[in-house]
Subunit: 116 residues, 6 copies
């Protein structure tokens, strides 16, 4: 099995804190923007998190997938919605997306098993 | 200015017909899948087309952007929704997405100017 | 050392089964296409598997490399043929392919050590 | 229609000459390597050019596609072989490969129309 | 020949103005960041522009290359420095960078011909 | 925590030796080029290693990052210079670079903790 949800979150939190301890203003501002952009507006949270998830899948970034799968679960994306988003990522990005689909499915399952 | 909507559509249609004139079954099946995956289901058309658009932008494919901008316009995505989808593509994919954002905005404007 | 051949295959098989347990037709159809496309036809198995391997290397997907190295070995690709395919992937994709070349060589060696 | 074969070749030749007029040794050596790697050896020309073509398609580089389509035609790749190579590139790389498949098909047709 | 420096700059300026006419705050902030990040600091302008250029080349973005070639010329990067930066981009990114190297060299030559 | 500096270096050295034990001339020559290109010339070591680092970050290659972070440290890049290079990689490549920024920061910290 890949990393657990908890391991991933701990590592991500610890390293983000180190990064944000920098004096570099552009890095800090980018991190702020990266939070702001998913806040609901003309598009709701659900749609925005799915946009983040599909973008992460076609760009084949497992850590980004881990983050957006959690966000999608927390705003209430259901399994049929996940599957349709997965299918779009798969058709757009091709078979090289499959390893990342495996990761997304494994990560989502972990969260469902914790009752989420 | 870049290609017009009409030029792009003519070229795309003509070449897709040539491609589908092949005997190769896998190519034909893939083209069918590529249509099927955007049909509304658990997720509505609007969301699915936005997923296709953002995936195209972060992968920096202008022809894919041209297609999905048209589809988004035809299912009724409004300008504020476009902007939020654009902002997610931009933050996920970084400044290398900017040339493709210019293309998307130019292409959308062409369609709005035609009353769509 | 990286994952063993057996670990990789077990994980891949288990997760693919979960993915194919979905009701989503497009995902299932894509997985079928992904098998069909490597069947020998105008091009023989050997060539098709090498095409899959080089595509996986330039796209820098270790799981795809692990799969196609095994397939290449099973259809009888020899070491000199592997090396020439590796050299094309390296020249096309540049030094960022090197970590994936290391992975491919390590994975192939594991299989040769098992008498394949 | 996109650029003609002749236009592409003229531009490519002219610019490569400018690049190779540099004193930079690494750039010159890389260009030599880029020729050497497609010479027939354990794998024949045909296979090597197809490897170059599929790598170019999944990496979505039209100029690389234009070059390798010509090379494939010149070493005698037939249409059925082209289609199978195209289908692998399409399944590996997904729908974002389609615009580049259109380009490859258009470019190959130009060459066939010139009797090649 | 590809687009002239003037054509590129006009198109870029016109479209950026349209993009920044949006109410979307994240898009505006990202454009600000994209300017701020190249201002001299611990690293001088010269180095920062070369970082932007090489990043643009390995990511194979011609519009980004067009912009950073101009910036490099304007901060005084000389031809030998350009060539060494080009050689790194080429070795890191491989032969798929060559079409973009052609573009960079053509664009730089245009600027030198204008006395810059 | 991710791999230690020592683990990474051991694995890299061992696998590179296996790769270079090949008779394939193009692979050997490419490895030579990959060393030669970072030698100081018109640009100093410091700048060249930063170019290699930023290219590795935007292409999202952790092994390449691990190598260039070490090289940067060994030629004396200081923390403020690292941060500015990181910020350019982040703005050019977007939020998908963040996991690789975490890796770069973690790897650099390991080296600083060893007194480098």
């Amino acid at each position: 099995m890949s990393r657990s949800v908890e391991e991933f979150n701990r590592y991500r939190k610890r390293m983000n804190e180190k990064i944000l301890a920098t004096d570099n203003l552009e890095i800090k501002r980018f991190f702020n923007l990266d939070n702001a952009v998913y806040k609901s507006g003309a598009l709701d949270d659900n749609t925005k998190e799915l946009l983040g998830l599909v973008a992460s899948m076609v760009l084949r970034c497992n850590d980004c997938i881990a983050y957006h799968v959690q966000q999608c679960v927390s705003v209430g994306v259901n399994d049929a919605e996940f599957d349709e988003a997965f299918s779009i990522a798969l058709i757009v990005g091709g078979s090289i997306v499959i390893p990342h689909l495996r990761y997304a499915v494994e990560f989502k399952e972990q969260m469902r098993n914790q009752g989420q």
